[in-house]
Each structure stands twice: as C-alpha cells, then as structure tokens.
C-alpha cells in the first residue's frame, strides 16, 4: 500500500487561453470564469495583453493571454502555472508555454500551425512540439479553424467573421474537459449580443461544436486530478498518470521475470493510453497487437501466454464483458494472463469518460462455472505501478489470470512518482517445469501451493494439450468424471486462496477508532482525506483501504470486526460491501454509496461519516 501518497483532488484548475489579440481570448476566458462562478467555484482571472497592440497577426509580440483560475474556496496567486493551455496559433504556443505546468494539457488549432505560422513564430523546424519538448500525448491537436468554418458554412457570415468564433470552439472544448454547463455560456452570449442575435446564435453553435468535439474524441485533461505525496521522500521523481504507471508496471514485471511482454488490446476509453504507452516501447521488446475486437485482445494474449510470453489485455468494463470467455479459458487452462480493467461508468456504454467502481462484481464473478480469479485494485496513479507489478507476479507465479482494476479517475490522474529501482523489487519466478520431470510430468501436476508447472512450447519431452474441457488432474486427458471435476474446481479455488497477500493496513486511530472507514481501489485519497479531516476535528477514525480484493488479506475479518462503527464507502451501490459481507460472517457495515461518475467529494464524505459516528 502506497500509504505515503495522499490525494489532493485538484479543486483548483488554471486554464490559459492564448492567441492573437484579435482572437477573442479574453471573451472566452471571461465566459469560462462566469460559468465556473455560477456553479459556485471561486475564480481568479489574470489577463495578459501584448505590449504591442498593433503587432502583426501571428507574430510573437501579438500574443494575448488570459488565465482563469477556478477552485473551491482557495486563494490563488496569479503566478500559478496553468493546467490547460489553449494556443490558438504557433506564436501563442511559443510565448505562452512557459506558463504551463510540466504536465499541462495543450490545446492547439492545427490550422494555425502551418509553415508560415511556424515561421512567424520563429520555429526552426516543422515540428513545434518536438522543438519545445512537448509530449504529443498531452496535446489535443484539433483543426479548429476548419471545423468552425464547416460549422458556420450555412450562416451567411463571411470567412473573417466566421473565424472570429474560433475562440468559442476552444471554449466549448475546455467546457467539456471540465464538465461545465453550456447553458450558462449560452445565456451569457445571448445577453452580450442581445442586439445581434445572429452573432449570438453563431457563437452558441460553435461552443456546442467544440464541446461535442471533446465528447466525440473522449478528450481528457490528464492533470485535472492531482495526487501529491505528503511526505517528500528524498529521491528522483517524475510525473506519471495512472495509465502510464500501469504500462510501466507491466514492463518492469516482464523484465524482472525475463519474459516477453505481449499486449493484445482494442481501443476503449479510458484504457486506451495503456495501449498507446506500451506501443511506444518496442525498443524494450514489447509486442502490442491492436486486435479486431475485445474478444481477440484477450484471446490473443492468452495464446501469447501459452507460447511463453506474459499475455496482457487492457480494457474497460464493456470490454470485460467480451473478454470473460477467454478469461474463463485462462482459469481452466491455468495459464498466466493479466487483464487490465480501467473502470468507467456503466452499464453498457454508460459514461465512457467518467469514473466508477461498478465492475468489481463482474471482475470477481462475471463468468460461467467456478472461476476464482485474483483481483487487485490500484489505489492511486502511482500505485498503478506497484499494483500492476503485483498482478503480473501473481499471474506468472501462480499460473492464473489476474484482474488489475483501476478507474478513469486514477488512470487519468497523475502524481509524483519516485523512480523505482527494479533491483529492489521482489523476484518473479514462473514455475517452469524442471527438466528432470521429463518422462513423468503431466500437465496438471501441482506443487505444494497447488500451482501446476509451466511447459512452454519448444521444450522437447513436454508436449501437451490444454483446453476448455475439464481435464483429469492426474493424466491431463479430457475427463467428465464427477469426482475429478469436483476435485479440479476445489484445486483451482485453493490455488487462488493460497496466494499470499499482505495484511490490510489500518491507518489513523488503529487502536481506538470509533469509526472504521473501509474502501478499495481509486478512492483511497478521498477516504484518507476524509479521515484526516475528522481526526483533525478530534474524532477517533481509522481507514482500512484494500488493494487485494481476491484473495482478501488474512486479517480482513479481524479488522472489520474490531471497531464500533464500520462504513464501506465506494462508487457503486454496494458491491464491495456485498463481497465483504459474503466473505466475513456476520459483518453488517454501514454503507456510503455513490454512482455519479465523479470522484468523491471529501466534505460530503465527512458529513456522512459524522452522522454514522454520532450513532
């Protein structure tokens, strides 16, 4: 458990709109701050006009910037760097990028990054992003001018007037990123252009188009959620998102195990960045296959594992539905497989860009037959690294599929990541069949921990057939023998039960808490913050936050039964609470359930927990 990591849900966000003086950046910024103020955020704006009012269009001196800070009751300093930079042209990017945080999301109008624009902005090459050292993954590159022209093609406006609306497209996109209600913007524009209803209408149309573009492309700003370490352990750090940390954890585990890493995947929000990240690292020997569907993603990963690789598949909830048959096959074939589930809102397509914890029971049980499967839920962006590593270690050493769960919130959120030293990580030793067993070995021959040996194709003397039909535990041949099937079900279960997992840690007032908060996965930071707030108010509160869901830590029952009040808080209607009730006799917790697709709000947690505390 990465218990030195605590979340700061990024209540404060700074957005900087920048472009030519005539691009209407101030208007876009003003509307954005108005919308935010209307919904109760405190705001602070910071206009930054060019010194040279009549600077030529597209030149460095002609850039105007307008920064808006929004947040909940905090004080801002104008010197804060921005989380999102809108650069309407090349000169704006060049001059304004210095005001952006290292991990800021950059929105650019690619139509204003043509050769002549780059020259005016004094770029030396035709790749301004590379030239400025900007990671293209952080850039939302969109042909804003073209889209605005298309959007207003039937408006009867001339091109010059149409292009004046570009700022509204950028604004619409920013509103999408921060979930702003457009109706406030519409009213603002209707008021402002009361005498020119045509202009108001055009601007409204373009804002909506920008918003829709964000929705259609599932755009996200990586740093909306910021999770910072509270204790600064000396060392070297980098910034990392949950999805990137997940990819890194897989790479690290494969390297440690000395095994090829194979990812079979199909693009799906919010998990796609795992595919993107791994696809980059072919120099580490990583194989990625973008498959024809989710089914093939999982099936091909299992095929890769059979052939001796670490097979991984990445997806979100709807993809798990499709992968469940191959996950089940992995259970009965007893092969390693890591299934990454970056949860989003469901059911069906649900809320593709939003965060929930509603896949838990699906991951635990959503298959036919008796199919126990280890489930690990990462607790923060940086913990995605450790949890992914742990998932791989269990899969490889225990010859089982493992579900690694994260969610949209921690996958897109980021944190300061202390560079890990792989030498200090636990070894990963897959149970390759020893050569001396040649001649007597059978496919389901087991070690003391009920794990079968792994015979990788290519090894002479160990040819065998695996499959989805039940096998005889002794001979490995197809068997419908009732006793054998019963035995195999029990063995597959006990193999999972015997996986060693660390005890769940109790933080806060572990000895004398009146209230124990229980959670799992990506809500760690919020629950921790709620506990801190209550303890600061003099209450006795503890937190038991689970990373290992199946098998549960050995001390689970004793922890859950130790305290007067226990509340299980989760972003579902009570799936984890149900699971705990099933696993711990007589456990009847209070529940805090929310399925809004949004991260918890600490103050709401505290209010609810206080009521339970007072019981």
């Amino acid at each position: 458990m990465a218990n030195d990591v605590k979340i700061e849900n990024l209540d404060q966000v700074a957005v900087r709109f920048s472009g030519d003086s005539g691009d209407g950046m101030q208007l876009a910024g003003n509307i954005f701050s108005t919308i935010s103020a209307t919904v109760g955020n405190s705001i602070s704006t910071f206009p930054d006009y060019p010194a040279d009012i009549r600077a030529p269009q597209g030149s460095l001196t002609g850039v105007s910037g307008f920064q808006v800070h929004i947040g909940a009751g905090k004080v801002y300093t104008p010197g804060d760097k921005c989380d999102v930079l809108v650069a309407m042209n090349a000169a704006a990017l060049k001059t304004q990028y210095k005001y952006a945080k290292a991990n800021a999301t950059i929105i650019i109008d690619t139509n204003s990054f043509q050769k002549s624009d780059l020259e005016k902005a004094q770029f030396a090459t035709e790749d301004p992003l590379a030239e400025m050292g900007i990671d293209a993954d952080r850039v939302i590159a969109c042909p804003i001018s073209d889209m605005v022209k298309d959007c207003l093609a039937d408006s009867g406006m001339d091109v010059k007037a149409i292009l004046k609306c570009r700022n509204m497209f950028a604004l619409g996109l920013v509103c999408y990123l921060f979930d702003r209600d457009l109706s406030i913007a519409f009213n603002f524009l209707k008021d402002k252009f009361a005498k020119k209803p045509g202009v108001a209408e055009a601007n409204i149309k373009v804002i909506q188009a920008g918003y829709d573009y964000g929705a259609n492309t599932h755009s996200s700003a990586a740093n909306v959620y910021r999770i910072e370490t509270t204790e600064k352990v000396p060392g070297r750090y980098m910034d990392i998102t949950g999805n990137k940390a997940t990819a890194y954890g897989l790479i690290a585990a494969a390297e440690k195990a000395g095994i090829r890493l194979y990812l079979g995947s199909y693009p799906i929000t919010p998990a796609t960045d795992v595919l993107h990240e791994l696809s980059k690292h072919k120099s580490l020997g990583v194989t990625t296959v973008q498959c024809e569907d989710e089914i093939a993603g999982c099936a091909s990963a299992l095929g890769a594992s059979f052939a001796g690789a670490l097979g991984v598949t990445s997806t979100s909830g709807p993809g798990i539905c499709l992968k469940s048959e191959a996950m089940n096959l992995a259970v009965i074939m007893e092969l390693p497989l890591v299934v990454i589930d970056v949860q989003r809102g469901g059911p069906a397509t649900g809320l593709p860009t939003k965060s929930e914890q509603t896949d838990l029971l699906q991951c635990l049980f959503g298959r036919n037959g008796e199919t126990p499967m280890p489930v690990i839920a990462a607790t923060s962006p940086t913990d995605c690294f450790d949890s992914a590593y742990a998932a791989c270690k269990i899969a490889l050493e225990h010859m089982t599929p493992v579900v690694f769960m994260s969610d949209a919130y921690i996958a897109n959120g980021s944190g300061a990541f202390k560079l890990p030293n792989l030498a200090e990580f636990p070894a990963i030793n897959p149970p390759y069949v020893p050569e001396e067993l040649k001649g007597t070995w059978t496919p389901y021959q087991r070690q003391d921990n009920d794990v079968r040996y792994w015979a990788v194709p290519g090894r002479q003397g160990f040819t065998h057939i695996l499959g989805g039909l039940e096998k005889d535990n002794k001979t490995g041949a197809i068997s419908t023998n009732p006793e054998n099937h019963d035995l195999m079900c029990r063995l597959r279960q006990s193999k999972i039960d015997k996986i060693p997992v660390p005890d769940v840690e109790v933080e806060g007032d572990a000895n004398d808490a009146e209230l124990l908060i229980v959670g799992f996965g990506g809500t760690y930071g919020h629950l921790h913050a709620a506990m801190d707030e209550m303890r600061a108010a003099g209450k006795k509160v503890a937190l038991a936050h689970f990373r290992f869901i199946n098998p549960l830590p050995k001390n689970t029952a004793s922890v859950l039964k130790k305290y007067k009040h226990v509340v299980v808080a989760e972003q579902s209607l009570g799936q984890f609470a149900s699971f705990l009730r099933m696993k711990v006799d007589g456990f009847v917790p209070e529940q805090y359930n929310e399925v809004k697709g949004q991260p918890f709000v600490v103050s709401e947690l505290v209010d609810a927990f206080n009521k339970i505390y007072a019981k």
Binding site: K232, V233, P234, G235, R236, Y237, M238, D239, I240, Y248, I251, E255, R260, Y262, G264, H281, K282, S283, L284, G285, V286, T287, V289, C291, E292, D293, I295, A296, A299, S300, L302, G303, A304, S305, F306, A307, G308, A309, G311, E325, A326, L329, M333, L419, P420, N421, L422, P457, G458, R459, Q460, G461, F462, T463, H464, I465, L466, G467, G468, A477
Partner: protein, 334 residues
C-alpha cells in the same frame, strides 16, 4: 528427408463417429507433418469448439482446444509472441466462419504465418444438426425445418475478400490431395487457408458426394497445379478456357480446341480474379477445383512485428526499464 514418421505426431484414440471425415483428415495431417519434418515440440495445434476442434487431443504436439470461434485469435497471439512455432489452427465451418468469422477475416488480412484448416461439412454436428453458415440456401435441418432462407458463405470468397494470399482445397477422403495442400500451406509464408471438404455421416451425409470418392473426383473435380494446363475428366478429355470475363468447360479436340488453348494455372498471380472464378466453380456445370488455388507471397504480420521491434531497438537509446525511466522529465527531492 524427414527424421519423423506419422506416429511421432499421433496420440490417443479419436472419438469421432465411425466414418466421419475428420478421421481421414487427421491421418493426412499426421502424414503431412511427418513429411514436413518440424519437431513435434515446435508445433502448436490450436482449435476452437466443435467436432473437428477435438483434433488437438490426437496430436503429440503442443496444442490447445480452446473456446468456440476464437482459435484464430488465440493462434495469432501464439504465433506473434513465439514466431519459431509452426502454428496450425483447426476449425469447422461453424467455429471458423460463424462465431469466429471476425477472427477468420482478420487473421487473413493481417497475414499471420499460420495454417488455417477449415473442415467444412456444412452442418453443426456437435450440437446435433443445425444449419451452418456454409449450408446451401433452402437447407433443411433441425433448426430450419422449412429450409434456410439465407445464402451461405463460400470460404474462398471470404478468404479472398479478406485479402487472403493462400487458399487450397482438398477432399478429406483424398489423402494424397490433402497431404499435398497441407505441405503447400506450411511452405507458404503467411495465412494459409485449407478448406477440407468433409462428410458428416450422421447429420449431413453425402454433402460432398460428387467428389467424395476417387471416381467422383475423376468426373467432378479438377486438380489445379501451378504452371499446368487445366485438364480434367475421367479420360482427361475436358479442359477450362477463358471465355470473355468468365471461364468455360471445353472438350479437348472438339471445335478445334487443343491443350494449348486451355488456361494454365497461375497460383502465384497477385490478381485473384481468375483464382476466385476457379474456387467458385460448382457442379454440375463445372468441376470443383481442388489443390492450391492461390499462393501469393506477401509480408507476414509476425515477421513485420519482429522486424519493427528490431528496427526500433536500434533506433532508440533505451533498452531496459531503468533506461526507460530516464527518458522522462525528472526532478530531485533532497
């Protein structure tokens, strides 16, 4: 000369119905593998679900009898992650073209270097006799008591439509013909589709009747061979000629037709137009084409993946996890 015999690839006692075409095919597969000579431990035989998908259990190689329809996808991961393996995918018409149709076309499109065997008996046998995606329109079965109202897939057409580069056909009872296309499939680099016309004695007996016996094939089939003129018939009296945009059956010696006027088979021709025409031929007006119909070299996916990894390895400066970390913006807390 191979150091192996058919026995080295053989295991267990098949449980198919007596007379089932799968028995014949299995024997031919063992024989073909012995002649090819890849060591059993370097072969993976991967099937889905269905009668024919039991086949891996009768192989002394590595193998998997997986889940319905997914054999091509599982085989893809297997081959891409371990290109040294000789991978054979075994499916029936339901497994390969109905539930597994998507994986079938994409494995062909990507050109994964594996042998994709399609045992086509035009029926679901394991579930006791429902029509399959290759059953002809109007086919009466337990699930279509009044006849089907849908057209079947023709496997060659699907393979070609998916940009397949190899397609061959044999009749299960024809050991020589089957062994020869299996060897050609293994020799071909890329996805090699072999359609095996196979009889289901219980639920669809006689479906390939016209070509199921040697006599029948002599009359109703043509063996295509690259570079050879297209001659067929009990006494080699017939041939195939181009006829405008189509092809026609001619009698050699009639109307001044000589062997020189006949089409010469070109399996290596990139343009598949005529190959498709040949593959689509049906009785009674045309002979059924057997042998290697299309065999065209093209880049394979698994080789390209491996090559790209090597290319990027030499282009990039980081080759392990520690070096990967260093490619990020790093700061220090003291």
């Amino acid at each position: 000369m191979s150091e192996y015999t058919a026995k080295d690839y053989k295991k267990g006692q098949p449980r198919w119905c007596p007379g089932c075409g799968d028995h014949f095919f299995l024997a031919s597969l063992h024989k073909a593998m012995a002649e090819i000579g890849v060591a059993p431990e370097n072969i993976a035989v991967i099937s889905g679900i269905g009668c024919s998908s039991r086949l891996p259990h009768y192989m002394a190689t590595y193998g998997m009898n997986t889940i319905h329809g997914r054999a091509a996808a599982i085989a893809t991961g297997c081959k891409v992650s371990n290109p040294n393996l000789s991978v054979w995918q075994i499916s029936g018409d339901g497994d390969g073209l109905a539930i597994g149709g998507n994986h079938f076309i994409h494995a062909n499109r990507r050109n994964i270097n594996m042998n994709m065997i399609l045992l086509n008996n035009r029926i679901y046998g394991l579930t006791k006799g429902q029509y399959s995606p290759t059953s002809p329109r109007g086919f009466v079965s337990k699930s279509s008591p009044y006849g089907t109202v849908e057209d079947p897939f023709r496997p060659a057409e699907l393979c070609f439509g998916a940009r397949g580069h190899f397609f061959a056909r044999a009749v299960a009872t024809d050991a020589e013909g089957t062994v020869s296309i299996l060897k050609a499939a293994e020799a071909h680099k890329g996805a090699s589709v072999c359609e095996i016309l196979q009889n289901c004695v219980i639920f669809n007996n006689g479906t390939h009747e016209s070509v199921y016996t040697k006599e029948g094939r002599a009359k109703n089939a043509i063996y295509l061979e690259h570079g050879k003129p297209m001659i067929f018939g009990e006494n080699n009296e017939f041939g195939l000629m181009q006829d405008g945009f189509s092809i026609k059956v001619v009698k050699i010696g009639e109307n001044g037709v000589t062997e020189k006027d006949l089409l010469v088979h070109d399996a290596h021709c990139e343009d598949n137009t005529l190959q498709l025409k040949l593959a689509m031929m049906e009785g009674p007006d045309f002979p059924i084409a057997l042998g290697v119909i299309r065999d065209v070299e093209a880049p394979t996916y698994d080789e390209a993946v491996a090559a790209q990894i090597e290319e990027v390895k030499s282009a990039k400066k980081y080759h392990n996890f520690a070096e990967l970390l260093e490619t990020n913006d790093i700061w220090e807390v003291k």
